[in-house]
């Protein structure tokens, strides 16, 4: 039970990262759209977005990768110890 | 009913900008102020413009006040008013801060504390007038009407001057004085030319302008008129570009705009002018024809008694050779030769000497010297630059029927005159006045009326003046603000500000055409104040007898109408209007046409008030002869007027013996002897031995005479050229600074024999070596929250010295030393 709560909290925290990253992506796309609308050097905005958005996603991806990787093992261990 | 689109737009006026903002690309630039939205909701915001005359300085510029719902929000120059042609100066723009000043006197006040204590109580107008009139009736009944003195500090050439003088005449006092007065300043011209008026200079037809400290862009009578004129010198085409040389001990605004600035020691303009004359005469560059025909006293001459007199030429050639002049003035002799030659070759030229830093103990003589260069160069014909304007055809106020009491009073000697014959050419000098009041000589002053101005702040001897004010039993001030002077008043009768009142302002000194401007209220009086002109009438009615009939008009507006009606009837000149040029008027005039036909006076009056004024650029054809109203009918290098006056004084004091004469000359502080006295010559300025530096004070466009100090915008802009805001500074030359161990921005003490002041040093090369230049205008000890305690008043360390002839104060005649303040 206790382990489950912790697990849910951990999942929540990892999803927070995703919310954060998605929010940033939305924000940057919003700014990009404004700059296109106002014809205010959209090229620069596009350039920045192309670099920034993937960076954030990769970072979140790495974190998730580790999270999943560790937990898979934990479950395995728990299973094997129960057996 | 049909509403035209145009009218609808007018109705929207001020708010229309905001209402329709979104239709245009600019919507992002401005945000709509909340207040505007409020107003738009109420359906208000009607814009209108009203023309009037600016009262911030004697310049008499026409202004247009922008009103939104009757509330003035902006002032611009009246584009059709001929004096300023839409131009403005910074202080004109801050006039709204006068109108809405939080420190205005809102109702009549009576002092309850000691003089200067600042304790006041409000009283009603009736009560105030009752107190004053009771006192005045008593004075009159006791044959003391002459003991009532009126000092008019308004520098504007307005109807008010006539008005007050009528009142005083009817009451029976010879003591109506203007301080400062144009009369005093015009003495040099009077002595040489016999005309008691400030000449106007016309730059249009001039090729070369040599100005001896004439700071006409800043300290002139009408700086904006001269700015307009100056702009013509700098038009696109090369041919119009006259060369303009400014001689001054500091780089004034005018000097900064000159082609060349020549630093000079203060108080030596006369010597330099005569040095220039020396070269002109030596090299025969002067206008011989003019000098022979129209001048008197150039060559040595013999009077009817067979006595030979020294001529201008011999005097100059004998005493003012360039090396000697160079010694006196600090201007290199090569430079003197250079400018004299330029001046002699480039004709027509103009030589200016008044309206600036010439105020010194020797200013009359030095201005005579400067002005005589114009005669040498023959600058007195109609085409060239010097002229005197005609009086406008305004109706004279009806003659006062003086009763017996008043006649007795009027015959008393004026108290503004010196008792020991100093200042022979003036009826008022503030120095003599203070002296006389303190000595009760020839009689005590029992009441003093002060209209505008702030003589206590402007006077060199504050302390004595304050004592004198304390001594006078009744001091009444007509002012909108609590100035240093009105702090000593017993009763203050608050006047309207110039934006709330009627007045008529005509012929600004030094402006080159006849004109009349109408000052009219742009807004109903904000407070319980009254136009002093009408207050005087009421006072007269309370006093009764001849005084009550002196000014038989319903109100001041009617009085102005009465005066102006004569212009209407004379048919001369024209009401100013759009696109009306002087040359066009002249053209019409020559062909016998009249500009502007009006069906009735009312129509004339309405147009006059709407447009703001009337003018007549056409000069009566003047022959050169008519220019000189001297005994000889010529331009007098040798001033017979001065000689006559001095002879008169000598005789009036007893026998005409050399001893008596010597005594008088001595008492006048004139160092020259013999014929030289009456010729333009250089008088040494008396100095304190051992004090190394000259103190020069000057006035800035933003705060002339310190009266703009209660306007925060002007306080902030006070030193905009030096980026010193709300504060005074002292300009010194880098070498002078180095000698005294002072660097830019340091605080320094300036010490004279009278006292010392602390200012921040502004070290720059725009000031003569050995000169400390401090601006005048700040350092108020009263005058409201924005004025009090900011900066210093340099007059507090200036010695109490006056010009020996015309009685003007000499704020440039003090020596000081400086030291770094720690």
């Amino acid at each position: 039970m206790h382990a489950k709560t912790t697990y849910i909290a951990q999942v929540l925290s990892i999803s927070l990262i995703w919310i954060f990253v998605i929010a940033i992506a939305i924000w940057i796309i919003n700014l990009l759209l404004i700059s296109i609308e106002l014809k205010d050097v959209p090229g620069a905005s596009i350039g920045i977005s192309i670099i920034v958005i993937p960076v954030f996603f990769v970072l979140a991806g790495i974190l998730t990768y580790v999270f999943i990787g560790l937990h898979k093992e934990e479950k395995k261990i728990i299973k094997s110890s129960q057996e | 009913m049909e509403i035209k689109r145009r009218d609808f737009l007018k109705l929207l006026g001020g708010i229309s900008g905001a209402v329709a903002f979104s239709a245009y690309g600019c919507n992002q630039i401005i945000d709509i102020p909340e207040r505007l939205i409020e107003m738009a909701k109420k359906g208000a915001g009607i814009e209108s413009w009203k023309n009037t005359i600016c009262g911030q300085c004697p310049g008499g510029c026409g202004i247009s006040v922008r009103l939104i719902d009757g509330i003035p929000v902006y002032i611009k120059g009246n584009p059709i008013y001929p004096v300023n042609q839409g131009g403005m100066c910074p202080s004109g723009h801050s006039a709204l801060e006068v109108l809405y000043n939080p420190d205005r006197i809102k109702e009549p006040m009576k002092r309850i504390g000691l003089p200067g204590s600042g304790k006041w109580e409000s009283i009603s107008w009736d009560e105030a007038l009752q107190i004053i009139s009771d006192y005045m009736i008593k004075q009159r009944e006791n044959n003391k009407s002459h003991q009532v003195v009126f000092i008019d500090g308004s520098e504007q050439n307005s109807l008010m001057k006539e008005h007050i003088s009528h009142f005083m005449k009817a009451y029976g006092s010879p003591n109506y004085y203007q301080y400062p007065s144009v009369k005093n300043s015009s003495v040099p011209f009077q002595l040489l030319q016999g005309i008691e008026q400030i000449p106007s200079y016309d730059f249009f037809n001039t090729k070369y302008i040599l100005s001896f400290g004439s700071n006409f862009l800043e300290e002139g009578y009408s700086p904006i008129y001269y700015s307009k004129m100056y702009a013509h010198l700098r038009e696109e085409t090369e041919a119009r570009r006259a060369r303009f040389i400014q001689i001054d001990s500091r780089m004034s605004l005018t000097a900064a705009n000159a082609d060349r600035w020549m630093p000079i020691r203060p108080g030596t303009y006369g010597a330099l002018a005569l040095g220039v004359a020396y070269v002109l005469i030596r090299e025969e560059l002067y206008d011989k024809q003019f000098v022979n025909k129209y001048t008197f006293g150039f060559e040595d001459w013999t009077d009817k008694n067979g006595q030979t007199h020294l001529g201008f030429k011999s005097n100059v050639l004998g005493n003012y050779y360039p090396e000697q002049v160079s010694e006196i003035t600090g201007v290199q002799s090569e430079t003197i030769l250079e400018i004299a030659r330029e001046l002699g070759i480039n004709k027509p030229s103009l030589v200016l000497g008044d309206q600036g830093s010439a105020d010194n103990t020797n200013s009359t003589f030095s201005q005579m010297a400067v002005y005589s260069l114009n005669a040498l160069l023959g600058n007195f014909n109609n085409e060239s630059g010097l002229s005197f304007t005609d009086q406008p055809p305004l109706a004279e106020l009806p003659e006062v029927k003086v009763d017996k009491l008043a006649t007795i009073g009027n015959k008393q000697p004026p108290i503004g005159l010196s008792q020991n014959s100093a200042f022979p050419f003036t009826n008022f000098s503030v120095d003599s006045f203070i002296e006389n009041v303190l000595a009760d000589d020839p009689y005590p002053v029992s009441a003093l009326f002060l209209y505008k101005g702030n003589p206590l702040f402007n006077a060199l001897n504050h302390h004595d003046f304050a004592e004198a004010l304390k001594k006078i039993p009744l001091v009444v001030s007509f002012d909108s603000f609590l100035t240093e002077t009105s702090e000593y008043a017993d009763i203050i009768l608050p006047d309207h500000t110039f934006l709330e009142k009627w007045d008529e302002i005509s012929n600004i000194p030094s402006v080159g055409f006849t004109h009349v401007g109408i000052q009219q209220p742009v807004i109903e009086p904000l407070f319980n104040t009254r136009n002093s002109a009408e207050v005087l009438v009421d006072l007269g009615n309370l006093i009764g007898e001849s005084v009550s009939n002196a000014l038989p008009f319903e109100n001041y507006e009617q009085e102005i109408k009465f005066r102006v009606e004569k212009i209407y009837r004379s048919g001369k000149g024209a009401i100013i209007s759009e696109g009306l040029k002087g040359s066009w008027l002249e053209f019409l005039h020559q062909r016998g046409w009249q500009e502007g036909e009006y069906n009735s006076f009312n129509e004339f009056w309405e147009l006059l008030t709407r447009n703001g004024g009337w003018w007549n650029p056409i000069k009566q054809k003047k022959y050169i002869k008519n220019l000189f109203k001297t005994p000889s009918g010529k331009f007098e290098f040798y001033s017979q007027l001065l000689k006559k006056k001095i002879d008169q004084i000598v005789l009036s004091r007893g026998e005409d013996t050399p001893q008596n004469r010597e005594l008088l000359i001595n008492s006048l502080n004139i160092s020259a002897r013999g014929d030289k006295i009456f010729l333009p010559h250089h008088e040494e300025v008396p100095v304190d031995e051992g004090i190394p530096l000259y103190l020069t004070t000057y006035k800035l466009l933003t705060n002339r005479n310190g009266q703009s100090s209660n306007q925060p915008m002007m306080q902030e802009m006070f030193g905009y050229t030096n980026r010193k805001y709300w504060s005074s500074w002292g300009e010194i030359h880098p070498k002078t600074a180095a000698q005294n161990g002072i660097s830019d921005g340091d605080w320094m003490w300036i010490e004279s024999s009278v006292g010392n002041i602390k200012v921040q040093a502004k070290v720059h090369p725009c000031v003569m070596r050995d000169v400390v230049a401090v601006p005048f205008g700040l350092g108020h000890t009263s005058y409201g929250r924005f004025a009090k305690g900011y900066g210093i008043n340099p007059y507090s360390i200036v010695k109490n010295k006056y010009d020996v002839i015309n009685g003007n104060s000499a704020p440039q005649a003090t020596r000081v030393k400086i030291s770094r303040a720690t």
């Binding site: 940057i28 050097v41 960076v55 970072l59 790495i62 974190l63 990787g69 093992e73 934990e74 | 980026r723």
Partner: protein, 444 residues
């Protein structure tokens, strides 16, 4: 689940002790730092209330301490991630006790530095305008994005290598078990887990280096994208990065020396670590000088009026003491002390590090203020005297850093325990193997 709760600290006792034993000194430090922080916070609130008028900024010096400190703190933040990533990447085995501290510095200082532009805002209440109406074209927005990215990356980069240590603390179970349990993500130390973690760390450290470099480059762009003399220079990007690493190493050295003393970590942070790091510091100092020299030489040689004017002002004007102070702190002192073995003691290194940190701060000041103080168009020189509020916020920023570091040390080991263990177990073998691979001849 682990059954044996160890009460003694075992082999790496020195590393566990600070977490479980709290002395009086800790409370005093925290209280003092907290007080300083609250004082600064109060003064910041007055600034928000009255407006930026409470600072010493004016026209034309419209940027002052806040921007100086912003650049300075972000510079310090390069200590960590960048150094530790480079050291990890280059498989420098001596990195093991250093990386954690470096990464902590980064995360904390970055958070502080990143907030500085907000301190500088005239209308912090309108911060959210950046979200709705931001302009990505503005270098300021580049900063916002790159600092956010760097902060995210460096926090992850701090966190991931800490998981095994957190698990160790969790297994001890004496303190905040739920907390460590939550953070340890079920770490059991299995081979797979180690593999996953190492892979993630490897990807991260490759990513973090360009991000870190971009951050400081972008900060330099704030200045170099304008047309101001003294700023408008292409060299600014690398110059700032070098300066940042330089100050970062110095800050790291200071932290190492202080915590070595306080937490008795002499066994872990040995002379050799300081020797290596200080050599790096010396190299950076020379590099810094090279950049400074080229920057000024091009300015002087080009002789553009305004450029020369500002250089002359830096050399001889009001800010000359700061300029020469910077040269002494950043170049003269480090080179003299670090070039001689005799002076290269821990004390010597401490002196050098402090001098470099001061010097780098002065450098930021010398970049920001003199260019602004000399407006073009013959306007008068500006004078900037920072007010109490600005000093307070600067000191407050340092206090927050110290507080953050102290608090971190209270909950997590300052030296990566598992990496030390790993080092003991495997490094020697690894290194030997690696060395062999370098050597000529066949691998055996």
């Amino acid at each position: 689940m682990p059954k044996n709760k160890q009460l003694d600290f075992g082999q790496d006792a020195a590393l566990y002790r600070p977490i479980y034993e709290t002395g009086k000194g800790f409370y005093i430090t925290v209280c003092v730092l907290l007080a300083v922080y609250l004082w600064a916070l109060y003064l910041y609130i007055t600034q928000v209330y009255y407006g930026l008028g409470v600072t010493g900024m004016n026209q034309p010096i419209t940027w002052g301490f806040y921007i100086v400190n912003f650049v300075f703190f972000i510079g310090i933040s390069h200590a960590g991630t960048l150094i530790s990533a480079i050291l990890r990447l280059s498989k420098a085995e001596w990195r093991r006790p250093i990386t954690r501290m470096a990464e902590v510095i980064t995360a904390i200082v970055l958070a502080i530095g990143g907030l500085h532009p907000i301190l500088d805002l005239g209308r912090p209440d309108r911060m959210l305008n950046l979200l709705s109406d931001g302009r990505l074209q503005s270098p300021l927005l580049w900063d916002v994005t790159s600092i956010t990215a760097y902060f995210t990356a460096s926090t992850i980069y701090l966190y991931l290598p800490m998981i095994p240590d957190i698990a160790k603390l969790r297994d001890r179970g004496t303190k905040l078990k739920w907390f460590y349990n939550f953070l340890s993500w079920g770490w059991q130390g299995t081979a797979h887990q180690v593999k996953v973690l190492n892979r993630a760390i490897n990807i991260l450290m490759v990513m973090v280096i360009p991000i870190a470099i971009s951050v400081h480059t972008v900060i330099s762009y704030i200045f170099s994208m304008t047309l101001q003399p003294g700023w408008h220079s292409t060299i600014f990007g690398p110059y700032f990065v070098v300066g940042a690493i330089f100050s970062g190493i110095a800050a790291l050295l200071i932290v190492m020396i202080v915590f070595r003393k306080v937490y008795h970590l002499e066994e872990y942070l040995k002379e050799i670590h300081f020797q290596y790091l200080s050599t790096l510091l010396l190299i950076m100092s020379l590099l810094w000088f090279y950049f400074t020299f080229s920057e000024f030489l091009t300015g002087i040689f080009g002789s553009q009026t305004h450029e020369l004017h500002i250089i002359a002002y830096k050399f001889t004007g009001v800010y000359a003491p700061f300029f020469w102070g910077m040269v002494i702190c950043n170049f003269v002192i480090p080179v003299i002390i670090l070039s001689f073995k005799k002076f290269k003691t821990i004390t010597g290194i401490m002196i050098v590090s402090i001098s470099v940190v001061i010097g780098m701060w002065l450098e930021r000041l010398n970049i920001v203020v003199p260019s602004l103080a000399n407006p073009r168009m013959d306007l008068p020189l500006g004078i900037y005297i920072p007010s109490l509020v600005e000093w307070a916020l600067f000191i407050g920023g340092i206090a927050v850093f110290m507080l953050g570091f102290t608090m971190f040390a209270k909950f997590f080991p300052l030296i990566s325990i598992w990496e030390i263990e790993e080092g003991r177990k495997e490094s020697i073998k690894d290194v030997e193997k690696r060395l062999r691979s370098y050597l000529p001849g066949k691998e055996t």
